[in-house]
């Protein structure tokens, strides 16, 4: 009853009282500001997440056939699904390598611009351009780049006299995943570069100047001064990159569709296939994959922030 009392008082609070403090608002006002967003968000994000968790413990067939199966989906997934494990291995390799390339490459590119190479402002804009392209555009461009007969990659190899390394890059199981990775990095390196560049410009100039006076070599300066000072940015980008790579879907889907022979299948493409292209027509099993994978991502993010961050916490 007390709650209703308070609610009532809040709704009917006199306008004179409200005008005194700009930090207070009546419940009606709060609802007016929050409701549109919260309704859409609850209906099309929170509810779907809850339903996915529910689905993970059921078999969901078309025409509303729902059957409770408990942990069967997870059991089948972990103990009997070799394709899932192949996808996990691919995603793990992809994530590890791409995250390292993202962070190290992004930092190196940012340093190039930071030391004022000629045309740096123009290069910054050019290097960032691929970030703005959609995965579909990037994927198709790189499918052409990798074309065996007329793609630029093989053409460049021939031109350099390295014709022996010519490959059907996306058609061979041993190169498909890594070829997709190159395209992925081509798109995202510019993003990491820009973030590092902003962080570098925010560094106190005196420290770098002092290192200059001490005649500190560039490598020593990088390892002992710049990297420690960029720690927060490095951790943020590592976590961000990790999350993105663990969910990689679009580029793989456009370029290889997971093939050949599952060699570039990732967890996300496998979820999509099981849900919409498999003849089991079951949404429960792919939901179980999504739930398990989300738990694993959360676990690793928690672990990484724990290990890497030390003092500073995640700030929302």
């Amino acid at each position: 009853m007390r709650i209703f009392d308070r609610l009532y008082r809040r709704v009917t609070r006199s306008s004179a009282e409200a005008t005194i403090d700009a930090r207070r608002a009546t419940l009606a006002i709060l609802i007016a500001f929050l409701a549109p967003a919260l309704l859409i968000y609850a209906g099309f994000t929170i509810y779907p997440v809850v339903r996915t968790f529910y689905n993970a413990f059921h078999t969901i067939k078309p025409q509303g056939v729902v059957e409770f199966v408990g942990l069967d989906n997870f059991r089948a997934l972990v103990f009997a699904d070799s394709t899932f494990w192949k996808a996990v291995a691919n995603t793990a390799w992809f994530t590890i390598v791409a995250t390292i390339v993202d962070v190290v490459g992004g930092l190196l590119l940012a340093l190039c611009l930071f030391v004022r190479v000629p045309l740096a402002p123009v290069l910054r804009v050019v290097w960032f351009t691929p970030v703005l392209m959609s995965y579909v555009v990037v994927g198709i461009i790189w499918v052409w780049m990798y074309d065996y007969d007329w793609g630029l990659v093989n053409a460049t190899l021939r031109w350099l006299g390295l014709g022996a390394f010519e490959q059907s890059w996306l058609g061979h199981p041993s190169t498909a995943l890594w070829s997709v990775l190159v395209a992925h990095e081509w798109k995202w390196l510019g993003f990491n570069m820009i973030v590092f560049l902003a962080a570098l410009h925010a560094l106190p100039a005196e420290v770098l100047g002092a290192a200059e006076l001490d005649n500190c070599g560039w490598f020593a300066k990088l390892v002992h001064i710049i990297v420690p000072m960029l720690r927060t940015t490095i951790v943020n980008l590592t976590v961000l990159s990790f999350i993105g790579k663990m969910m990689v879907f679009d580029l793989v889907w456009v370029m290889t569709g997971g093939g050949p022979l599952w060699s570039s299948e990732t967890v996300s493409t496998y979820v999509y296939k099981r849900a919409f292209e498999w003849n089991t027509f079951d949404l429960g099993y792919p939901s179980a994959i999504a739930v398990l994978w989300f738990a694993i991502i959360l676990l690793f993010v928690a672990l990484m922030t724990r290990l890497l961050r030390q003092r500073d916490r995640i700030e929302f």
């Binding site: 700009a22 099309f44 804009v125 351009t129 579909v136 052409w144 456009v254 999504a290 994978w293 929302f316």
Partner: protein, 282 residues
């Protein structure tokens, strides 16, 4: 000191040679493929197969007209335009209202609302997409642009609120107290104080959401099936898949998809860069 300076810069120049070489190579690697596609978009497929890397001479500008009139690119383009414009407008409006409310008012549940919304930042799309497919089917919104717009708004509220709230919270409280004294209503305060002052941040989220949604693929591919409902990324993928040998026309399609982003980028490169990195830098 006087004579050590030129010597040092001489050394620096020598040391810079590999750096400049690396920078040049990377620039060619990033810019090259884009330039290549731009050239192909102005050449016919026959010309491309004769020489894949030739210059577009003569330039076949009519290919853009053909793409627009003879294939479905116009439909794809308008679908994308409608979906993105409405979704960006909606997500900006409702996101700004929430951000204002969270930044300005102290009320019970403030932290809970903030937490619930910002959780959206870390949810993988795979965790919502399968259930969204069911939900939109239930609501008869599957395979409609309306359904896609609602999904886009819902999935991009988190980022919008995150960026806007950080900015709105820095607006001095005095302004709001003064506005209250002048007898502004709560909504007037939002509309006449927060929105004008927060305009740069709002503009940042608009560009960010525009790029992300213009390029969005996963939700669209799951939630749309009709050819005449496809957005540009789906349309291009479909066209390239069904006309694998018509590289010239596919390249024209890619350019059509890229042009709006490139045009906006040419004018607002700094804002767009800021928008794309807004989440990571703060």
């Amino acid at each position: 000191m006087a004579n050590s300076l030129p010597m040092r810069s001489g050394f620096a120049q020598l040391r810079r040679a590999p750096l400049v070489l690396f920078v040049a190579v990377y620039t060619v690697v990033t810019g090259g493929p884009l330039l290549w596609v731009a050239m192909m978009s102005l050449r016919t497929t026959a010309e491309i197969f004769k020489n894949p890397y030739g210059f577009p001479a003569p330039a076949h500008w009519e290919k853009f007209v053909d793409a627009w009139t003879k294939s479905n690119y116009a439909t794809y383009f308008w679908n994308s335009t409608i979906v993105v414009l409405i979704a960006v407008a909606l997500v900006t409006a409702v996101g700004a209202m929430v951000a204002h409310c969270l930044a300005r008012y102290s009320f019970r549940g403030n932290r809970l609302v903030r937490f619930a919304i910002l959780t959206g930042l870390v949810l993988p799309p795979q965790l919502v997409i399968l259930a969204l497919f069911q939900i939109l089917l239930d609501l008869n919104l599957y395979n409609t642009l309306t359904g896609l717009i609602l999904v886009y708004v819902a999935t991009h509220i988190a980022m919008t609120v995150y960026v806007l709230e950080g900015f709105f919270a820095q607006i001095p409280q005095d302004l709001f107290d003064a506005a209250r004294m002048d007898g502004y209503s709560d909504f007037e305060i939002f509309w006449r104080v927060t929105v004008p002052i927060g305009a740069p941040a709002i503009f940042t989220t608009v560009t960010l959401n525009f790029i992300v949604l213009w390029n969005e693929f996963l939700f669209a591919v799951v939630l749309l099936t009709d050819d005449n409902k496809r957005t540009l990324p789906l349309g291009i993928m479909h066209f390239t898949g069904s006309h694998q040998l018509d590289v010239g026309m596919a390249a024209t399609g890619l350019m059509i998809a890229m042009l709006p982003v490139i045009v906006v980028y040419a004018f607002f490169s700094d804002t767009m860069i800021k928008g794309m990195t807004a989440g990571a830098v703060r």
